[in-house]
Amino acid sequence: MGQCLRYQMHWEDLEEYQALTFLTRNEILCIHDTFLKLCPAGKYYKEATLTMDQVSSLPALRVNPFRDRICKVFSHDDVFSFEDVLSMASVFSEQACPSLKIEYAFRIYDFNENGFIDEEDLQRIVLRLLNSNDVSEDMLMDLAHHVLSESDLDNDNMLSFSEFEHAMFKSPDFMNSFRIHFWGC
C-alpha cells in the first residue's frame, strides 16, 4: 500500500466529475484522498487501479453480505479504476435518483446474470441476508414464493426489470437502505 504520485486534482476535472456524478465536492475529494492511499506506488491516479479484494475490504463494504456482487457489477475486467470507484460512490450516494439505484440494485441481485431475478437468485439473496447455517429448505422456498407472488405480475416465476422497478418504487425502505457513506465523508 504505497502512495501514488500526489497530484492535486485539477479544478476542471473536479467540475467535470461533479457534473457527471451525484457526488458533492467534498465527497469527490475525500474519495480521491483515500484512493491515493490505497493504490500502488508511482502511478498517476487516473491510471492506477485497485483490485476487487482491496475494494471489498474497505470499511464501508467490509461487512456487506453483497460486497462481491457490488464489486463485480462496478468493476471492469476485475479491477477498479478511479472513475469506477466514483461511479460506485455516486450510485450509492444520498443524492442519487431512484431509477439509477433500482437499475444497479437489479444488476447486483441478479446473481446468475441472465437479465432476470429468478427463484435461484432469490434463494441466494435470502441466504446471504440470513447468514446462518440452519435455514431450512422450506423456509427458503416459502420466502421466494412470497416475493414472487407479490411482485411477479406476469406469473413466469421470474422478476424482469420492469417488475423489479415497479416493486421497488413502492417499497418504502429502498431509498433509505440502499445508501453507503464512503470513507466517512
Binding site: L20, G115, N131, E150, D154, S171, F174, N176, S177, R179
Partner: protein
C-alpha cells in the same frame, strides 16, 4: 403456480449452492431455452435500451444486451429521444461513457434553434444553482455527524428516533420565533425604549372592579427554599415575569403611525403556531401515509421490501452487522409465523369465534376500567393539590410542600408506568396475531399517556368555572376568589409538568441506566444481574416520552409564551443525554424497528398529540371567560371576542364578505360541494382499482401465451435440428 406448459422451463428445485447452470448441462453451442429467447424479445430490448443508451461491456456469458445493432445508430436513437428528459448523471453508465454521451449531446445542441439552446442552458444553470443551495443547506443541518454515526452503529430504526427529536427541536424553535415576533418583540422594543412607542392601557369598567383584584402573594420572611420552590413551580417571583400570561396586561402599543393591537397579535400567534405545527407534521408524514395506505390494502410488499431493501447498506460495524442478520432472521421467521396464525384464524369455527369475541369484549372493558381508574386518580390528585396549594406555604415542611405541588405530575408518571405492564399482560389473552398485538398495545399506551394531560386540564377547567352560589363568581364568570388570574395558574401547571418530565428523564438515565450498566459489567457473576442484563433502547417508550413533552408545550404555549423556548432547550439536552445513554449503556434490542414504519408511527402519534392539545385550547379560548385582572384580554368577554371586534373595524364591504362566509347560507352549500368532490374521488379510485385488476389478469394471460409459443418454437427447432 407451475403449470404443465411451464414445467419444461422450470429449472427444477435449485440446489443450495447452485453451481450447475443450465447452460453447462446442454450440448455445446445450443442455446438454452427460456432466458436467451426472452432476451431477444423486442420488449426486453426496448426496456434495456431505455435504461442504458450505450452498450455495456461484453461479458462471456449472460450479457445484459446482445450486441446486435451498430454502436452509432443505437446511440443516436437514444439521444434524440432523451435529449430534453434526463440529465447525464441519471444514465447507468460509467464515467467515460457519460463523457462521450455529453460530447455528443453538445454537438447535437448546435443544431437546435437559438431559443431551444437558451432554454437548455438556463435550465441547466438553474439546476446547478439548486444543487449548490441544497449542498449548503445540508451543511447547516443540525447534528448531522452525530446522527450519521448513530445510523452506522445502530441502524436506521434508532436513527429515525434521533431525527424525530431533531425535528421537534426545530419545530419548537420556530414556534418560539413566531411568538417572539408577534408578541415579545414589540413589548421589548417599548420597554427598553428602542422605538418611540407607549403602552396603551384601557381602564377597567366600574362593575368589573371587583373582578380585578389580583393579590400578589408576598410573605414577610422569605426562606431560602422558597426560591427553589418558586423556580420549580412558577409561583412567587416567577409569576409576574414574562414567563406567564399575567405579565402581558397590555391592550395595545402605540407606535408613531399606527397602534399595534396586542390582544389580536397574541391570539394570532396561538393560531399560527398550531396551524404551522399541523401543516409541517402533515407534510412530513404524507409520503409515509401514502405508502402505508397502499400497504395496508393488500398486505402488500412486506416480503419484497424486507428482502430487497432489508439490508442497511450503510452498516459498517461488524457487531451491528451480526445484529442485523439476527434481526432479519427473527423478522422473516415472525412473518412466516404470522402468516400461519392468520390462516389458523381464518379457519376458526363459529363457536371459537364467539368465545374469542366475548373474551375480547370482557378484556376491553377491563382496559376501560383501568383507564377510568387512572383518570379518577388524576382528578382527585389535581383537586387535592389545588386546594392545599392555597394554604400557608411557610407553615409546611419543604418536602411536603413540593409533594403537594407536584402531586398531579407524580400520579401521572406512576399511572404511565403501571398501565403498560397491565396492558401487556391483558393482550396475551386476546389472541391476536403478534404484529397486531404490538400495535394495539402501543396504541393503548399512547392514548393513556396523552389523555392524562387532557384529564388534568379539564379538572382545572372544571375547578375554575365551578361556582358554588358565589355572587362574585357569577359576576365574573369564573372562580375569582381561588383563581384571580386563572390563565397564569394553568400555565404554572403546564410549567410544572414540563419541569417534572425533564427531571424524570434525567433521573432515570443517571440513576437507573448508568448504575445498571456498571452492575452488569462489574458484577457479571451474579445470575440475577445476568438475567436482567443491560438496558435496551426501547423506541416506543422513548418516543411517547417526547411526544408527551411536546403536547404539554403545545397546550402550555398559550398560557406561558416562553414555554416553547424552555422546550427547545429541554429537547436539546435530552438529545445529548439519550445519545450518551445509547452509546454507553444500551445494548441494541433484537427486535428492530424499520425506518419507514417508525417515521409513520412517530408522526401519527405526534398528530394525535396535536389534536388532543387543540381541544382544551379551543374550549378555554371560546368558552371560559378570560380573567379580568391580568392578561391582554381583560376588556373582552372571552379570548375569541377579539376577532369579531377586529372584523367590525374593517371597511363595510370586507365586513359583509366576512359575515357572508361565516353564515349558514355559505357553509351548507360548501359542505355539500366538498361531499360531492369526495364521492367523485372515491368512485375514481374504485374504477382505477378495477382496471388494475383486469390489467394484471391480462398480463398473466399474455405471459402464458408467450411461454407456450416459445415452447412450441423450441420444439420446432429441435425437430429441425434432429432431421
Amino acid at each position: 403456480m407451475s403449470e404443465s406448459s411451464v414445467s419444461a422451463l422450470q429449472s427444477g428445485r435449485p440446489p443450495r449452492q447452485p453451481v450447475v447452470h443450465q447452460e453447462n448441462q446442454l450440448v455445446e453451442g445450443f442455446s438454452s431455452p427460456p432466458v436467451n429467447f426472452l432476451q431477444e424479445l423486442p420488449s426486453y430490448r426496448s426496456v434495456a435500451r431505455r435504461r442504458t443508451t450505450i452498450l455495456p461491456r461484453d461479458k462471456q456469458s449472460g450479457t445484459l444486451l446482445k450486441p446486435a445493432d451498430s454502436y452509432g445508430s443505437h446511440l443516436e436513437g437514444g439521444i434524440t429521444k432523451n435529449l430534453s428528459s434526463q440529465s447525464i448523471r441519471k444514465y447507468a453508465l460509467n464515467i467515460s461513457e457519460k463523457r462521450r454521451l455529453r460530447d455528443i449531446q453538445e454537438t447535437q445542441m448546435k443544431y437546435l434553434s437559438e431559443w431551444d439552446q437558451w432554454k437548455q442552458y438556463s435550465s441547466k444553470s438553474w439546476k446547478r444553482f439548486l444543487e449548490k443551495a441544497r449542498e449548503m443547506t445540508t451543511h447547516l443541518e443540525l447534528w448531522r455527524q452525530d446522527i450519521r454515526s448513530i445510523e452506522g452503529k445502530f441502524g436506521t430504526g434508532i436513527q429515525s428516533y434521533f431525527s424525530f427529536l431533531r425535528f421537534l427541536v426545530l419545530l419548537n424553535l420556530v414556534i418560539f420565533l413566531i411568538i417572539f415576533m408577534l408578541v415579545l418583540l414589540p413589548i421589548l422594543l417599548t420597554k427598553y425604549k428602542i422605538t418611540n412607542s407607549t403602552f396603551v392601557l384601557i381602564p377597567f369598567k366600574d362593575m368589573d372592579i371587583q373582578c380585578t383584584i389580583y393579590p400578589i402573594s408576598s410573605s414577610g420572611l422569605i426562606y431560602f427554599y422558597s426560591y427553589i420552590i418558586d423556580l420549580l413551580s412558577g409561583t412567587g417571583f416567577l409569576e409576574e415575569t414574562s414567563l406567564f400570561y399575567g405579565h402581558y396586561t397590555i391592550h395595545g402599543i402605540k407606535f408613531q403611525n399606527f397602534t399595534y393591537d396586542l390582544p389580536l397579535a397574541y391570539l394570532i400567534s396561538t393560531i399560527a403556531y398550531l396551524a404551522l405545527s399541523l401543516l409541517w407534521i402533515v407534510k412530513r408524514s404524507v409520503e409515509g401515509f401514502k405508502i402505508n395506505l397502499i400497504r395496508s390494502e393488500e398486505h402488500f410488499q412486506s416480503y419484497c421490501n424486507k428482502i430487497f431493501a432489508g439490508w442497511d447498506f450503510c452498516i459498517t460495524n461488524r457487531s451491528m452487522a451480526d445484529l442485523k442478520h439476527s434481526s432479519l432472521r427473527y423478522e422473516l421467521r415472525a412473518d412466516l409465523e404470522e402468516e400461519r396464525i392468520r390462516q389458523k384464524i381464518a379457519e376458526r369455527t363459529s363457536e371459537e369465534t364467539i368465545r374469542i369475541y366475548s373474551l375480547r369484549l370482557f378484556l376491553n372493558c377491563i382496559v376501560l376500567a383501568v383507564l377510568a381508574a387512572c383518570f379518577y386518580a388524576i382528578y382527585i390528585a389535581t383537586i387535592f393539590s389545588q386546594e392545599h396549594m392555597k394554604k400557608e406555604i411557610d407553615k409546611m415542611v419543604f418536602g411536603e410542600n413540593l409533594l403537594i405541588l407536584y402531586l398531579p405530575s407524580i400520579v401521572i408518571t406512576l399511572a404511565n408506568f403501571i398501565t403498560p405492564i397491565i396492558f401487556a399482560k391483558i393482550i396475551h389473552y386476546e389472541d391476536y396475531s403478534p404484529g397486531f398485538e404490538i400495535r394495539l398495545t402501543i396504541l393503548r399506551c399512547v392514548f393513556m399517556r396523552l389523555a392524562t394531560i387532557c384529564v388534568l386540564v379539564f379538572t382545572l377547567g372544571s375547578k375554575i368555572t365551578s361556582c358554588d352560589n358565589d355572587t362574585l363568581c357569577e359576576l365574573c364568570g369564573y372562580n375569582q376568589k381561588l383563581y384571580p388570574c386563572w390563565e397564569t395558574q394553568v400555565g404554572q401547571e403546564m410549567y410544572k409538568l414540563m419541569i417534572f418530565d425533564f427531571i424524570m428523564i434525567l433521573a432515570v438515565t443517571i440513576f437507573v441506566d448508568f448504575p445498571r450498566k456498571l452492575l452488569v459489567t462489574h458484577c457479571s457473576s451474579w445470575k440475577l444481574i445476568q438475567c436482567w442484563g443491560q438496558q435496551e433502547f426501547a423506541i416506543p417508550d422513548n418516543v411517547l416520552g417526547i411526544v408527551y413533552g411536546q403536547t404539554i408545550c403545545w397546550i402550555g404555549a398559550f398560557f406561558s409564551p416562553l414555554l416553547p423556548a424552555i422546550a427547545t432547550l429541554k429537547f436539546i439536552i435530552i438529545f445529548y443525554v439519550k445519545e450518551l445513554s445509547l452509546l454507553y449503556t444500551c445494548r441494541p434490542s433484537p427486535r428492530q424497528f424499520r425506518a419507514s414504519n417508525s417515521n409513520f408511527f412517530f408522526l401519527l402519534v405526534l398528530l394525535i398529540g396535536l389534536c388532543l392539545a387543540i381541544i382544551p385550547l379551543t374550549i378555554s379560548m371560546s368558552r371560559i371567560p378570560s380573567s379580568k385582572a391580568c392578561g391582554p384580554f381583560t376588556s373582552f368577554n372571552t379570548t375569541w371576542d377579539v376577532v369579531p371586534r377586529t372584523v367590525s373595524t374593517f371597511p363595510s364591504s370586507l365586513q359583509s364578505l366576512v359575515h357572508g362566509i361565516t353564515s349558514e347560507a355559505f357553509a351548507v352549500p360548501f359542505f355539500m360541494i366538498i361531499c360531492l368532490v369526495m364521492f367523485y374521488f372515491i368512485a375514481l379510485a374504485g374504477a382505477h382499482k378495477r382496471v388494475v385488476v383486469q390489467l394484471r389478469e391480462q398480463l398473466s394471460l399474455e405471459s402464458r401465451d408467450k411461454r407456450y409459443l416459445i415452447q412450441k418454437l423450441t420444439e420446432a427447432q429441435k425437430d429441425v435440428r434432429s432431421h
